[in-house]
């Protein structure tokens, strides 16, 4: 009896989620396979012929191969800012979890503030201009680091609290200096949460649209999200190309999802619940 309801319920749930969650993605894929005329119908139909590679080529070479530049820029921003985030956030999380001083309350407050307060956009632009960082990849990387530090710190701090302090002390007795303790004992033990951090932050930064829109104007510095946004008007009559573009920028998160599903879910829930 119980068995049967669970099977019926299962089929109903699978069917419902298929309609709601899978069909939009199938729609993207189908559109990316179509030619311009068929895609203009914007319906859920089988493609007349295989046009995916033509579409990809078309999208990639638009505006002087801007897509290539954009992928390089996005990758660069993502890799460098995530690397900096990992090291800096782990250092903060380590000291914050281990040493209780009267400043801890203030630091925790600043972390929470960073999660809640929307960045003041125009003053930031003004400041970046003053620092000669406005519209540069360096500036964009530092912005991503600044905005995403609080979340990474929270992830790390929660995890460091589970590493026994005795390990630090054993290392000290063994003759370790603070940097030895951090790099040889603590950081290797943080590997699981580092993976989580890498995955979650990479996806977030790669998908970031708002911050590059403000801080990274100009075609030379376009990111993939900006490129998609800019192509929207250009492709307004070529839905096959628009959806090919969407498909292309969905592939990186899909790959990450296939390989790191568990870490992403663990990281997002842990960070959220602890925060």
């Amino acid at each position: 009896m119980k068995q049967r309801t669970s099977i019926i319920g299962g089929f109903a749930a699978i069917a419902a989620t298929f309609v709601v969650f899978v069909i939009p993605f199938l729609f993207i894929i189908l559109m990316a396979f179509k030619d311009r005329q068929q895609s203009a119908l914007r319906d859920f139909s089988w493609p007349n012929g295989f046009h995916l590679f033509d579409n990809i080529f078309e999208v990639v070479k638009t505006r002087n191969w801007m897509m290539i530049t954009a992928f390089i820029n996005s990758t660069l921003i993502t890799v460098v800012s995530v690397t900096l985030l990992i090291v800096f956030a782990a250092m903060v999380g380590f000291v914050l979890a281990r040493r209780k001083t009267r400043f801890n309350g203030l630091i925790e407050f600043l972390i929470l503030a960073g999660l809640m307060i929307p960045p003041a956009v125009v003053p930031t632009i003004w400041l970046l201009q003053g620092l000669k960082l406005f519209g540069t990849l360096h500036g964009m990387i530092l912005i991503e680091v600044a905005y995403n530090l609080p979340f990474s710190i929270i992830l790390y701090r929660a995890f460091i609290a589970t590493i026994p302090r005795e390990l630090d002390e054993a290392a000290v007795i063994d003759g370790a200096r603070p940097l030895d303790v951090f790099f040889r004992i603590v950081l290797p033990l943080l590997w699981p949460v580092t993976v989580t951090n890498i995955v979650v932050q990479s996806v977030g930064i790669f998908n970031d649209f708002t911050n590059p829109l403000y801080y990274l104007p100009g075609n030379g510095n376009a990111t993939v999200q900006l490129t998609l946004y800019n192509f929207q008007s250009q492709f307004s009559t070529a839905y096959n190309l628009l959806f090919t573009n969407i498909l292309l920028i969905t592939i990186p998160p899909l790959i990450v999802f296939l390989f790191f599903n568990r870490q992403i879910v663990a990281g997002m829930t842990a960070g959220a619940v602890k925060g």
Binding site: P164, E166, L167, E169, A170, A171, V172, I173, D174, G175, A176, D180, R184, I185, P188, L189, W191
Partner: protein, 360 residues
């Protein structure tokens, strides 16, 4: 050659003092056990010696070096932690060799030292494993191995057996004892378990509230406890106490009596005791016997018959209860009235300040 000298050591966290002036001398090669209830400061004192806690006041000498501001690695100590504190991401081999690696010991010397330590502890077959693949007892050995490979002058143990099950605890206790004999190093050992303290120590230091209560050989602490705290802490089951009044003072004995006690003369140091003083009488449960008449009377609350001995919980008329451990089996019933007697020389008188008045 390293003994230790603690001179008026103090430690406080903010305004809260936790170690209130400890003076102690530890000879080279001695096995010293710090014992006391949880929160008494025994672990803090050990960690001050290790250099894991700053010293607020006083002096710590290890060998002939003042160590207050010396980094742990330069103190010539090694420590075994309660939860082993093995590095989970390193093999046993690397765990043992980590300190040598940090000290930049050449690889071949490091290797021979690690294998030597493994041989002493009979765990050569475990060297390639990670701590996660070891049993509790094996982890404890690795922790000890990590300590001995550094050839320290002083070994520090922080409740090293508290995570092992009872059988393993006895084995490991004996091994530590043997290690002490083989290495001849100074060892300081913290525990809350008085059996460990009694069996391992050359010298026991009883701590309470950050103050040393008594220092002495194990049997001395049992037979001649310095005060009410030590008397109550050392020995199991706990010593029985009773408030009594001084009826008569002789040259080397006092006669005392109380609500639950008919007058009895007990040998004691009588200096300063006068008629009518309230003092405390202490008798160990094993010192009580059941003759036909006795000086203590009560009703039996509970009887535990273990065959070789019988443990009786006796409710006295004043409301307190005493334990008696009687040799052999006795068929006693709950609710029954029972008289207990004791040899006056086995009783201890404690004065108003709680100091023991052992006869000279």
């Amino acid at each position: 050659m390293a003994g230790l000298e603690l001179k008026s050591l103090h430690k406080s966290y903010g305004d809260v003092p936790v170690i209130k002036g400890v003076d102690l001398t530890v000879e080279h090669g001695e096995f010293v056990v710090f014992v006391g209830p949880s929160g008494c400061g025994k672990s803090t004192l050990l960690r001050m010696i290790a250099g894991l806690e700053d010293i607020t006041g006083g002096e710590l000498w290890i060998g002939d070096k003042l160590c207050n501001a010396v980094e742990p690695r330069d103190r010539g100590i090694a420590m075994v932690f309660q939860n082993y504190a093995l590095y989970p991401h390193m093999t046993v081999y690397d765990n043992i060799g980590f300190g040598l690696k940090l000290a930049r010991t050449p690889k071949d010397i490091r290797d021979s030292k690690i294998r030597e330590a493994a041989r002493i502890l009979q765990m050569e077959h475990l060297l390639e494993r990670k701590p996660g693949q070891l049993s509790g007892g094996q982890r404890q050995r690795v922790a000890i191995g990590r300590a001995i490979v550094r050839k320290p002058e002083v070994f520090l143990f922080d409740e090293p057996l508290s995570n092992l099950d009872a059988a393993l605890r006895v084995d490991t206790r004996m091994e530590i004892s043997k290690l002490h004999q083989d290495l001849g190093a100074t060892m300081i050992y913290v525990t809350h378990d008085q059996i460990e303290a009694m069996t391992l120590a050359d010298k026991i230091v009883v701590l309470n509230g950050g103050v040393v209560q008594q220092v002495g050989a194990p049997i001395e602490l049992y037979q001649r406890p310095a005060n009410l705290f030590v008397a109550g802490f050392i020995g199991s089951p706990k010593m029985n106490f009773m408030a009594v009044t001084v009826d008569n003072v002789a040259a080397n004995a006092v006669t005392v009596s109380g609500k639950d006690l008919s007058p009895v003369s007990i040998p004691a140091d009588v200096t300063g005791l006068t008629l009518g003083d309230t003092v405390t009488l202490g008798i160990r449960p094993h010192a009580l016997t059941i003759p036909t008449t006795g000086s203590v009377v009560g009703r039996i609350n509970l009887v535990e018959r273990l065959g070789n001995e019988t443990i009786v919980n006796l409710g006295l008329t004043s409301g307190i209860s005493w334990l008696a451990v009687l040799d052999g089996d006795h068929n006693l019933a709950t609710g029954q009235t029972l008289q207990l007697a004791f040899d006056p020389t086995s009783a201890v008188i404690f004065d108003g300040e709680g100091r023991a008045r052992h006869p000279a």
